[in-house]
Symmetry: C2
Subunit: 239 residues, 2 copies
């Protein structure tokens, strides 16, 4: 795949779920931690996968205009209610369901994330442009030492990626042209939509995101830069 | 003035202009730096005061609904155009006017601000709830090492303080009840409106904000805490 040189990028925008944090093993661990003491048992990785499978359909309700914008925490809770019966968890108390839903605020970063962001932060403005809500992004940042300049993304834009408004609202918040911003993600689809809005793009391979060998080992469409870690991205961007 | 004990505050929201940064001497310095090399001269502190005098009337256009929400950078520029003739600067080039308008992105903090915020950050979530736009807040944070968890305030709310929406949108972004948030400001008016929305309040005295002796040495209405610096606020809040 041809890689073109990257001019005058001032800000890096990051996808978070899968790109910076390992949602799958973290949600499985949190589900186990909340539910096993209550006497429930299940294949917690399969539970995490089932919950995540409701993610795109849940956001599509908003993107299509069928329901008004709601924070991702609200969609996660609705998605959770959908899968609970399948795992024999239909009788869960409100308190336990709320604590379980908050699992998404307690995700752990991939090992290179914090150190890579720290290097990139010296040269670039950094912000998450995630579908996660502000409080969720703040909790993940505190937990994992993500050095954000601002929390941008879906809640600021009032819509969900990959709708153009989300990428463009982020660039506008920083007073930057789209071409001065680079979207960094482990998902080709996210990057293709960012590129269509004029942003530069960097793909970070997270080959185990959805289980061993079940993540994107490489982009499936052209991107400006393709790397295997944020440290490599920092190298490539001279940061 | 009676001071009541403060329960269960989780987030501190900060006013910025005057409370954390010394806009007056900074704008005067920046105006001098931009304009004197172009052959202009003026009393630059008086120029800063004149520009700031247009601040509330400019925002009132938005608050009253007469014009749609515009970022503070846009209002600052409009306000600048209003005062330029009075200082013999009507012929300023577009490039110089843009550089001058950006003076508000280059303000210096009061000496206690960064160290106080660093201490408070260990115990509380911190965000600016300012009328400044996101890019302006980000530039001031980079310049002065403000450790924000997120940039909240007018641009998120789509309106200007002291409209209730601005305080309430900030609490909602953090998923907190208003009573779990404390507004910190050098201006009693800001705090009185925050208190009316249910927030806790802390007054920081900045007696020289508008010139020697021309700032609020103490609040003129009841607040939860009144201090002389952010270090004292950290002491009072056990941070």
């Amino acid at each position: 795949m041809p890689e073109t040189p990257v001019p005058a990028v001032r800000a890096l925008f990051f996808d978070v779920f899968g790109t910076l944090v390992d949602w799958r093993t973290s949600v499985a661990r949190e589900a186990k931690g909340v539910l096993e003491p209550l006497g429930y048992s299940a294949d917690w990785l399969r539970f995490a996968d089932a919950w995540r499978d409701e993610y795109q359909p849940g956001m599509e309700e908003v993107r299509s205009g069928r329901i008004p914008f709601s924070k991702l925490d609200v969609l996660h809770r609705r998605n959770l209610e959908r899968i609970l019966p399948r795992f024999g968890l239909a009788g869960l108390s409100e308190e336990a369901a709320a604590r379980l839903n908050h699992a998404w605020h307690r995700l752990d970063a991939w090992p290179d994330a914090a150190a890579g962001l720290a290097r990139l932060s010296v040269k670039f403005l950094l912000a998450p442009v995630s579908n996660g809500n502000i409080s969720l992004m703040v909790d993940l940042a505190r937990r994992n030492r993500f050095p954000w300049d601002a929390i941008l993304g879906a809640e600021i834009a009032g819509d969900y990626k990959p709708k153009p408004r989300v990428y463009l609202a982020a660039a506008e918040a920083f007073d930057l042209a789209p071409g001065a911003c680079m979207m960094v993600a482990a998902h080709t689809n996210d990057l293709a939509h960012a590129a269509a809005c004029g942003l530069r793009t960097a793909h970070v391979a997270r080959p185990s995101e959805k289980g061993p060998g079940k993540g994107e080992a490489a982009p499936s469409a052209p991107v400006d830069i393709a790397v295997g870690s944020l440290m490599e991205l920092a190298d490539r961007l001279g940061a």
